[in-house]
Amino acid sequence: MELSEHLFRRESGRLVAALVRIFGVHNLALAEDVVQDAFCRALEVWKVRGVPDNPAAWLMSVAKHRALDIVRKEKTAQTFAGELSRVLESEWTLVPTIEEAFAGSTIRDEQLRMMFSCCDPRLPEEVQVALVLNILCGFGASEIANAFLTSRAAMEKRISRGKKSLASSRRLFDLADAEFGPRLSAVRRALYLLFNEGYHGASAQAAVRTDLCREAILLTTLLLESPQTAVPETQALAALMHLQAAKLLARVDADGDLNPLVEQDRSRWDAQLVEQGLDLLDRSAAGSVISAYHVEAAIAAVHATARSVDETNWTEIVNLYDRLMAIAPSPIVALNRAIAVAQRDGPECGIDALQAISGPARLRRYPFYPAAFGELELRRGNSDAARQHFASALRLARNDAERRFLERRVRHCDELETPLPSVAYSIEEKKR
């Protein structure tokens, strides 16, 4: 029997959810200890005896027995989940209650509640995302730190801060709560950020990035399985993720290098993900509200169904960006709109649109702002000007993948024309 991929990580999130149902969220650490213990046992037994036929059920059974022991040992169940304290106190109801906590549908509901609890707006968004990755996806602090290019110590601090806040509440977020609507938006936002960290993120390892995108999709799919959370805006978010994820492997190569849209081999786009994304986008049209996720997914859909950059319906894309600017204006959206304008009307119009972006101060540290000028200057034949823009962009690069990508663009300009010595000097200085 082979181990399925990420079995331990997957089961970690599910088992913690079930155990928190029994012990209460204030005993989150106890729930995590029980899971850790079950994994240790699995390791000892499986490595010698081999993996059992149903490893997930094996792990669950160990966790279940351990939970039963712990609850029996406590004289009063009061210390555990407030919601279940009465039924846990009686031996008559104890076993069925614990069985029920580990039932598939209960685990799914508890995972949802856990997700809603992690996305507490009182916590900073980066803490919310770290909690989701740690508790629901089973990533360790070191692995999350690696994906976000922060230190392990800083990530541990972030997670423990979030857990302290979680544990201080007596129970998980109740989906019948009056705050449900705004909290669902916060959950979507956290999953959107999680996905983007994988798609645009800092890690140079392609595997790390696909992992993050996959987790975001899985958690969004979990939202789609419950009627309460499977609203059109959630479907739109899921559509966006599927359509973007379809391009991920073509976008980041094995070395973590970025390929711009123009250079991507479209045959490497995942046709199945595109299809699922388009299907989700169709379904998301059921409501009366058009969210930013709808528009972003629609833009991704235009790209995903075009055979090449030239055959892309840029008029449609510019219109969609106009809509996005009306719903959720931001300098980054304006930047992407300007690039689409350049595709539709030519590089001069694109440069005008770039210059017309209001609040460029917020883009001052964003490498793809000067890089966009670079691309358009290059397109209208000014390789000198383009080179200078790319050199400025390179100075703003935030990680190795961006650095290598922008270095390639600078080199490309060099190949077109001999660069000015002064500019070459500034690049040398950067390298030192």
Binding site: L3, F8, R9, E11, C40, L43, V48, G138, E143
Partner: protein
């Protein structure tokens, strides 16, 4: 061919560290599966053996005093055993080098099974 017993020893701390995160546990698991399968394929695996609980009792001396585990006097505990077949002790040692317990700072004790038939 002679038989040898592998005794896997590991400290509690190393065992916890090996666990680390679910993903690391999975990687450790996969290395064990691969190593065991390899022994099996090459015909060295006589008996997969059994894992051992890290608790127990020790009965000692004429007084037959019984003490509880964990065995505080032992730096590392035997966590399990496997019976292998090899040409000689050198080959048995060579085969044990791939054991993943070593990655976690543990050890493999290789003990020849005494031959009873003359």
């Amino acid at each position: 061919m002679s038989q040898f017993l592998y005794l896997y020893r590991m400290t509690d701390a190393a065992r916890q560290e090996n666990m680390g995160t679910p993903e690391r546990a999975q990687q450790n698991m996969q290395r064990w599966i691969a190593w065991m399968n390899d022994l099996d394929k090459k015909g060295h695996l006589k008996d997969r053996g059994q894992p051992l609980e890290r608790t127990g009792k020790v009965v000692r001396g004429q007084q037959k005093t019984v003490t509880d585990g964990p065995f505080t006097e032992a730096k590392d505990l035997v966590g399990g055993f496997t019976l292998v077949e090899a040409r000689d002790i050198d080959q048995a040692v060579e085969l044990s080098r791939g054991c993943p317990v070593l990655d976690g700072g543990g050890s493999v004790e290789v003990r020849p099974v005494m031959k009873m038939d003359m």
